[in-house]
Structures are given as structure tokens and as C-alpha cells.
Subunit: 706 residues, 2 copies
Amino acid sequence: MRFRILALLAALAIGSPGRAAELNVMPLPEAFSFASGRLAVTREFTVVFKGQKTAALEAAVGRALRRWEERTGLVFPRTPTGTYAFAADPEHATLVIDSAAAAPELPQLGVDESYSLEVTGAQVSLRAPTTLGAQRGLETLLQLLESDSQGWSVPAIAIKDHPRFPWRGLLIDVARHWQPIEVIKRNLDGMALAKLNVLHLHLSDDQGFRVESKTLPRLHAQGSDGHYFTQEQIREIIAYAAARGIRVVPEFDMPGHSQSWFVGYPELASAPGPYQIERHWGVFNPVTDPTKETTYAFLEKFLGEMTALFPDPYFHIGGDENNGVQWSANAAIQAFIKEHDLKNNEGLHAYFNRRIQKILTADGKNLVGWDEILHPDLPASAVIQSWRGPKGLAAAAEAGHPVILSNGYYIDLCHPAADHYLNDPLPSTNALTAEQQARVLGGEATMWAEWATPETIDSRIWPRTAAIAERLWSPAKVNDVDAMYRRLDYASQRLTEAGLLHQTQLAPMLRRYAGDAITPSGLEALREFVAFVQPVQGYRRGGYQDGSQFLALTGLADCATPDSKAGRAFARAVDAVVNGKADPHSLTRFAQSWRELGARIQTHAAETGARAAELKSLSEQLIDAAAYVGDLLGKFASARADEAWLKSASVRLEAISRPQSAAELSIAEPLKLLTAAASEWPRREKLTPAEWRELVHRTAFPPEKP
Amino acid sequence: MRFRILALLAALAIGSPGRAAELNVMPLPEAFSFASGRLAVTREFTVVFKGQKTAALEAAVGRALRRWEERTGLVFPRTPTGTYAFAADPEHATLVIDSAAAAPELPQLGVDESYSLEVTGAQVSLRAPTTLGAQRGLETLLQLLESDSQGWSVPAIAIKDHPRFPWRGLLIDVARHWQPIEVIKRNLDGMALAKLNVLHLHLSDDQGFRVESKTLPRLHAQGSDGHYFTQEQIREIIAYAAARGIRVVPEFDMPGHSQSWFVGYPELASAPGPYQIERHWGVFNPVTDPTKETTYAFLEKFLGEMTALFPDPYFHIGGDENNGVQWSANAAIQAFIKEHDLKNNEGLHAYFNRRIQKILTADGKNLVGWDEILHPDLPASAVIQSWRGPKGLAAAAEAGHPVILSNGYYIDLCHPAADHYLNDPLPSTNALTAEQQARVLGGEATMWAEWATPETIDSRIWPRTAAIAERLWSPAKVNDVDAMYRRLDYASQRLTEAGLLHQTQLAPMLRRYAGDAITPSGLEALREFVAFVQPVQGYRRGGYQDGSQFLALTGLADCATPDSKAGRAFARAVDAVVNGKADPHSLTRFAQSWRELGARIQTHAAETGARAAELKSLSEQLIDAAAYVGDLLGKFASARADEAWLKSASVRLEAISRPQSAAELSIAEPLKLLTAAASEWPRREKLTPAEWRELVHRTAFPPEKP
């Protein structure tokens, strides 16, 4: 938490070139320069392919032009068979696409994705070494459309672009809450827009096994409640992704996180069955028995089937959060460890991984796994996906493994986009050698789905994941948080136009939440209030609600979205005060608006019937937050705070920050900062600006005691 | 048009029992009476089946309870395998479902759908002769949920219910604009909620052939642009519908409306090919050649395949709008008519129908067709679906045919729900004998899709179709338009909760329409303005836009929805003035609000770039409408209008009513009425109220000259 705010201030201090602020493309291209003039987009807009073309590129052009038709209402020329007219003569086409080589039908890690785009008053010229690069350039072009009273146009510009990292992924967990194929497809459209290129499907976990297995059919038949992808659907997803230049990497988590496998095949487990599908969230004991040869016979059969189904050369076996309880409790397993000189459960896990890697190698796959699979005995070709922290990432790279960063990209934890944005896989402070740095392939945003359903998942993924996509695509120096948020608004709108529901779904959810007796003005107040609220961040939600597959995710925390704009505006105003760039009394207007909004909720809460209690509590907290800001403003003028004042402030802040139904006001952090600034204000004049900032942050967010 | 307003006034005059106004269930049950008290809905809510149960009923209970969990946030008890706990002991269950007989797995015309529901403070008792009746009762129960500060509950009530007509349908045209399976599924959920029981799929037309044919694969391969249901999807739709007690009746339109067939099989046509898929809307010349035996061989093969795919005993062959042009121009066809003594093209069409009916009879199907197939030679068992008017319906019933009414239920024409609601298949004024009346099976709303895409189709179907569903289910005497609109608001909310997008989709569409430069206040003004606007009614849209499959339906007319509430409120206020129940100056507040809204649009129009021109025009019209109302108010106090005044008023009204981008202000009709009232006001005192109303309506909407 502390890291975030400091880093954010640092980023603000760095700033960015003014020109960048005017290009509403995300990820921001590597280099661009505007020219004068613009190209009119009219009903005469035509396209021609000059170099290589593929079915994927042609389809991408079709989708792009259709998206523009939907935005503009124009109808572009078409051939008699209904496809867009591709003129034979490049001279007279509006858009000329020139790809030097056809990209493979199935995208591969490392295919050249670079492109250049030149827009003049007469023509768009899109050049790329591969058709895949041309597809990336099309996504950029799509975002350049503008409108004024003269009509639609694209500004004259020259762009050169290529990705910083070759592995830019999004993990979607379809196990905890089932996410059907339409969720996957619309998110693939979103990924294409953000130039992400790896869909990592987390296909099995304690709570569900989500792929049809023809060789071991009790896996999906008994482990999924009937919610799984058929193999035909998997092929459909892979084709849909491939057409957008996106690889699909499957993950079957083993040996832990696999209780759902044991419903149909209890003999796999390290303790006797029977097993049921796990319904709750957490780390559970059931784990595969790695000491039996029948386990490997089973997995060889299973992996043989799945490696044939998923064509990508990378295959993820999870490997995380094996708590060892079943292994420790099983005498035969402990005897096996002794007998094979494996030392302990970790050694046994490493043995299991080596056996699995042999199978995967025979099937032509590279193994990928989470931090925990890292072990001196693991062959260097195995890819480590780091979820636990920068140390793990560095250790893996130093040990010679290709690595992917996910720590810091856990979008399910509902942190702001800025946190993720400033989390660099290769920060300038990294201590890796050039060779080790080259092993850092990129990163993946992880959408774990304990608290996400098809109705809410888009708003947990987007638009924040577009900020991660920019981190992984754009140069490291593109790190101005304000400019990022400005571009993110545009990206969010483009994502909605592509079919993502992150903006759209809020209104019907709120309407259902509010109930039938809500008045229009009550609903409007509620809408503003929910925009002020956020789902609790981090792993805290399970502390407030009984997390299970059966709880409908339709409450206040689900209507609210992460990264509240209203909260962000207050945080910026507080930063300005702390940094001496604004008078503390500039915050009065926030307090005033909270009082008004809180009062409106108090007025209308009863209209929401059974929801009234939680709304009343939270709105009282907001009203007290307003009063608290008033009190703090008084404090700025008085002496340094004593213990008693600090204690009572802390109690009050605690009450203001209290979640209701796992939703909380989005202003707790800046209020802490403001409290620290107010209490220390008299010391300010004696310190340098840097020392003062440091003092305020340390006071607000004291380092945890060891 | 005139019919509608007169009928609406008549209905208002009739009124309805006060109690009905308090039951927010649609369709309104046949009989109900509230008792005192209520049943608390808590996390202890359990269900038990006392009588017969089917998989469909169990699944329906699961869906119903899940819908309630989503609304309440409660988690109801479940068994270890994750299904809802069905207690063994009816005494202690909250909901007891007692069905005397299991309904057939595939719903059939005429299956008993009646049920009774009794809610006490302790228990809900749902009784039905069949499990299908129990499913209908569940939909009623679902709509009874209420909330207050005490929590969730259902009011104590006794309900007895059964449908007035056994055939209550919705036609969805998937040919003009393709509507994929998810559109069909969510609309089936909506149909179940509205107790509709027939999904009529219009599967082929000039613009597309939408079902996979294994025996004649060029039908879908060349006639669909790749947009068709696979046979597996058809089976999925049929199963999904059957689980909700809904029959699926397929329609393959022939011999006209079949150009898409000829792309792959030009030899079927009555003129030489080649043919392309038709892209525009209208009635076209290509028509099947009914004189060749090869045609019947083809159709026997085709119908054999399709009658096996679609299990319902009814099979629709269209038969409408064959303009005869190709037949008249073909000497061989004309010779055939002469040779077989068929008299004319109509005789040839009847010959074709008889041949088709023979095939269908051999396949075990009853033929259904539109009005045009009615012919003295048509066997009485053929069902006539009447789209052209009450006369056609009566003629068919008199000729002994079962009949279905669709005239008056053309929801694609964007008329208000009230029009459809007051359109009774068997109005009290009908001249049919009891035997003929018994042949009136019911009706079907028709969603023709020239102007509807997956994005907009829900808002063209819902909520208005729920009013038609009530007409077909509830007793004829349930016809209070105000009460209907009140219930419709609740139904609309339940439909949204079931996944329909009729409310949800407006915001993102408007946001895309408005463009990137729109400000929040501009967007809010636009939202209010679009709620004031409607897509042009009737068949006029093609007069304003070049109708084709290529035009993106994302403009002003698509963001607007039929049956504007704002327009309706003004119409009611005008009615009150016309009927002497309100002072003309009560209308001043409308004019004032229009001026303000119009001015806001003028202020913000430039933010919408290329859309500014149409918004400026329409907002100017609204501002002039406000001024016009002011002028009319002056007129009320003065002498009867002369020719010159009437002429200038008419010109001004014409300008105010002018559509922009096929969207128009929703106040043109009441303004005409108000103009007539103002111009005739001095005569009012000499007339009875009825004579005065008649005069005003005749003046406003003069009968068309013959």
C-alpha cells in the first residue's frame, strides 16, 4: 500500500512529454509524431492489401471497419458477396496494408508484432514485417477515429511501434466461478484491443474441472456441475484467439488445487475418498499422490489428451499452494520420501514436477508453473510464473529459467490501476544481468474468480488490465499515471464498443440491488454513492462474507468497481495539500459534497428495503468523514498532535473505513495521509519537501513491526 | 392510429377494480385475493415436491430460487451435491409444489397450464394439474417477492389462474438480421416470464437461410454469410424452450421470400440465375418454381430433414407476399397454369400449397401459413396466421381453419404497447359463432428484423410483448391501459433480471453515438432527450434510411425505444385537457420542460461532432413545439380557427414532427389532438362530452379520402 502511494508521487514528479497527452491510444506507441491535417473517413473508405495477407488479417480488417461503421453510421463499400471492397489499386485506396510476411496461423511466442502507421490527408499506410504486426497496427488505427461537425476523420500522424515484452497475458480462472465461452470471447476482443497476446486459462481447481476429457470423462462429468468447455468449444476459443494474434496457454493445477479431479477419481488423492466438489474459497488439503505409478499412468493419459487439444508449446501445471497436510499424514508417502531420498514434502513435489516434465517433454511441451515449482532439480527450460514477489522472479531468472511476472498484477484484489501500472517486470533498479533480464518474457494479469461471475468479471478485468497491457507493451519510460488514466478512459470506451460489459452492467445490477421501491432520485443518489464505494481490497472479502460458489455476487461490493474515480480525485487533492501545492481548505468542497451525498442516501435508504441498513451505515460513515475533514482542517492551524488526539483520530478513521457487505468508502487511504499531514504540520517548515513527504507517508503508513 | 387513441380513451373510461392495481404480476392472473400477513423469505427457504415432478420442473425451481438469491443476496439451503435441498417433509417446507401429472417433455398445444397458488404466513402452496402448470405458477410466485426494512417476503394471497388462449407466441426473424443462439435463449427466458408458449422462428427469407441442412448443404453454406444455426444448436434451442414449456415452430418461407435458397440452388427459381443474397428490405421477385417436379423432389428431401429436426407437430411454410412477377413472366409457368386449369397465379400458389401439405402430412405435420395461403382448395386442417387484418382472421375461422392472430401485434413497427394490448383476438364485437371462436387459438407478436440487431432486438421486443402476453393469457376484461403500464414497469425489471438487454443496452449505445467529446452533462441531456424520441412508427423507416444489412443500426433511431414514457405523459395530460378534466394551462409545464431540454441539447450538440446536425434540428423542433403549445393555449381563449390558422398550424406541426435519421419526437399525435381541441374549443359547450371527443378526434385524425 505504502509502496503504491510513494511510487505514484514519484511518477507524478517525473512527468511526461506534452505531446503524449494528446494521443488517445493505449498502449501508447513507442514513437509518434503528429503532422498537420487529417484524413476524412467517409462512405468511400476502401482498403487494399499490398503485401502478404492472411485470413486472420482479412477478418481483422472486417471487424475494424464494422466497428467504425457502428461508431459512425457510415456504410463502407462492399463487394457483391458482402465483404468489404478491396480495391486492386493501392494508389486510390484509403487504407493500404503492406505486410512483408504472413504470420503463422497459430501465433507463437516471439513472432514480430511491430508495425508503422502513416496517416496523411489522403491515405493511411500501415506497414509491418508480419501480418500479425499489421493486426496490431489496425488496433492502433481503430483508436485514432475522431469526429467534429465536419464529420469523421483520423489525424495526420506517423507512428512506429513494437512491444517491449513478447509475453503479455491475461489469466482467467474459469474454475472457481464458471465463465462460459461468451465471457472468454468478449475478453479476447478486449485483449486484442489492448494488444495482449496470451490467454492463460486456469481450467481446474478444487472448485471445478472445466474441460471435457474424452479419455477420463469422470473429470468433467463429476467435477464441474455440468459447467465445462467441450473440446469443440476449446477449439473454437483457440481459433478465435488465434485470429486475434493471441496464444492460449492452458493450466491444469497439480498436485494441489485438484479436489474436483478426485470426485470422479478418488484413487488419485493422497487420502481416501469420497470427495465432493469444494464450494468454498481457500487452500485445502486434498492433493494428488505422487508416489503411485498409477498416478503417472493417469496423468500421462490425461496430458496426452490435453497437449493434443491445446496446440501452444507452453503448458501450465500450476504447482502452487500445496500445503502438504495429506502428504504428512500419509505414512506410505513419507516412507516413499525417505526411500527415494527426497528429504521432505518439497523434495517430493520436485520429484513430481520432474516426472510431469518428462511427460510434457515427450508431448513436445514446455512446462510452466508457479513460483513453488522452483527447485534446484527443475530443468532450466521450465518457465516460472511469479506470483509471490520480485524476489521469486529474480531467483528464477538467476537460476536460468524464463520467467513471467504476475505478482503486482493480481487484478482480482481490486487495487487501483496505478499500482499495477507502476509495477515493472524489469524496474530500472533491478539487479539482473543482461542475460538474466532477457529471460523476463513479460507478465500476466490474473483474474482469479472467487469473487467474479460472468456478470461482474468484465468490471474486475477492465479497464485496469489495459494499464497492465500498456506496462508490458510500451517503453518503460511511459509511466505518467495521470496520462495513463486519461488514456484509460478512452480505452474503456473502446472496450465497451468491443462488447465488454465493465461499464454496461453496473446500471442493471444497481437497479436489481435497489429493489422495486426505489425512486428515480433515490436511484440517482445510489448511483453516485456506489461510484464512491469500492469492493474491499486484497484478500479481505472472505472476512466479511461467507465465500462460496452459492453466494450470489449481486451485493454492494459487486455493484461497486475497483479504482473509484471519486476516491482518486480526493487522493489527488490530498496529495496537492501534502505537497504544499494547495491550501488545506481546498478540501472543503469534498467534505461538502460528501455531506450532501450522504444526506441523500439517508433520505432514500428506506426505499431499498432490506438493503437500507448497510446503506445507512455507509452513508453515516461518509457524513462523518466530511466532519472529520473539517476537524482536520482545524488541526492544520494548531499545535502538533499529541497521543490522545492521534488515538481518537485513529479510532474515528477506523470507523469511517469500516466495510459494509464487503464494500468500503474509497477515501480511507488519503484520509490517513491527510491525518498524518495535519498532525505533523508544524514540523513542515523545518524539513525539505522530500523529507516532509517521507515523514507524512511514514506516519500515515508506519512500517509493520517485525 | 386513430383507432388507438379512441380505444385508449375507451379503456380508460372503463377502469378496473382497485385491487388489481396492487398485484404487480404480469400477465395478471385470472382471479386473486390478498389475505393478511406475509411469508418471510429467509435463508431457511426450502422446497418440496408433493406430487409428480419432472426434470423441467426441478430445473425451473432451481432457476427461480437462483433468481431470488440474486435479488436478495440470501443463500438458500443446498444438498451436498450443490442442488437446492428438497426436504422430504412437506409440513416443514416453505414451498410445497403439488403437480397431479407430469407434462410431456416436449410441450404440446393444449397441455393444461392452469395452477393455483396460496401463500400464508407459514407456507406457499403451489398446485397444478400438470407440472407445466406448476412452472407457470412459479413464474407468478417469482414476481411476488417484496422487500422492506424487515427483509424479504411474499404477501399472503390466493391465486387461481389459467390461460385464455392456448397459442401465445413470439416470432423472431433471424433471416433479415442474424440473431445468434444467445439472443434466442435470453428471449426464451423472457417468454417464460411472460407465460408465452410458442417461439416461432422465421428461419429463411430473401436475406438469409439460417439452418444447417445436411442433405442440401448449399442452402446454409451459400445463403447465410456463415450465420446459421447448426442442427445441434437447433436441438439446444428446442431443449431450452421445452424446459420452459415453450414450443418451437419453425418457418421456412415459400414460395416467395426465398431468394437466399437460390444462391446455392438457382434451379429452384422461376427465372434463371445466378442469385445473390438479397441485402435490402422489401418484397422481391424471386420465387420458387412450383411447376417442376424437381422442385417437389427437392422440397420433399428438405422438409423430410427439417420435420425430423423440429419435433413440434406444427410446421410453418410462410406463403406471404409472392408478387407473381417471375411467374407472370415465365411462359412455361403460365402454360402450366392453363394446362392444369389453375386459373391464375393464386391458383398456382394454392396448387403449390396442396403439394406441400401432402408432404407435410406424410411427415406427420400440420401446415401453418400466412393469410395468403387461404384458398377454397386448402384443407381445413391448415392453420392460418393472420397478418393482414381482422377480416382475414374471420374469413379463415369461417372457412374452418384454426387461426392465430398477428395483425395488431407487429412489434417491429414500434407502436405503443397500448395499441397491441387493446387488440383482442376475439373482441366482444366479433361476429363469429361459438364453433368459429373456438378455432381462434391465440396470437403471436412478430419481431421482424429488418431494423433490429442482437444489440437492439430486446428493446424492440420488450417490455411491450409482455402486454401482448397479458392480452393472450388474462381474461378479456383485464384491459385497463394505465394498470397495464404500471405492471409493465415491474415486468420490465423482472425481464432485465432474467438477462434481457432492453433496458441495459441503451446507455452504451448512447455513449457510442455521442462520441468521445461528450461531457457528462451533455450525455445526461442526451439521455433525457433520447427518452423523448422514438423510432419512426410503421413502415416509414425505409423512407429515411437506405435499409440494408450493411447499415449499422447504431443511430438515433436505434438508441431511441418505442413507446416513449415522456411522450405518453404528455398524451395523458392532453387527454385530460380535451376531456375537460384539466385546464389547458396545465400543459405549460410540459412546454417549459421542452424548452429547457431543447436548450440543453443546443448547448451540447457540438460535443457530438458529426451527430450535431441531427440533434440540433430535432432540438429546434422540440423548442418550437414548446412555443407552439404556448400559441395553442392562447387559441383556446379566442374564436374558432379559420382556414388560414389551420393551414399554418398544420405546416408547423409537420415541421415539428419531421424525423431526423429516422427518429422523431414522441409528441406529434397529442399535439394534433390539442390543435384540434384548441381550434374547435368554442363549440365545446354546445356538445355532449362524447360528441365533443368525437369531434376533436375526427378533426385531429380525419378519415382518409377514398
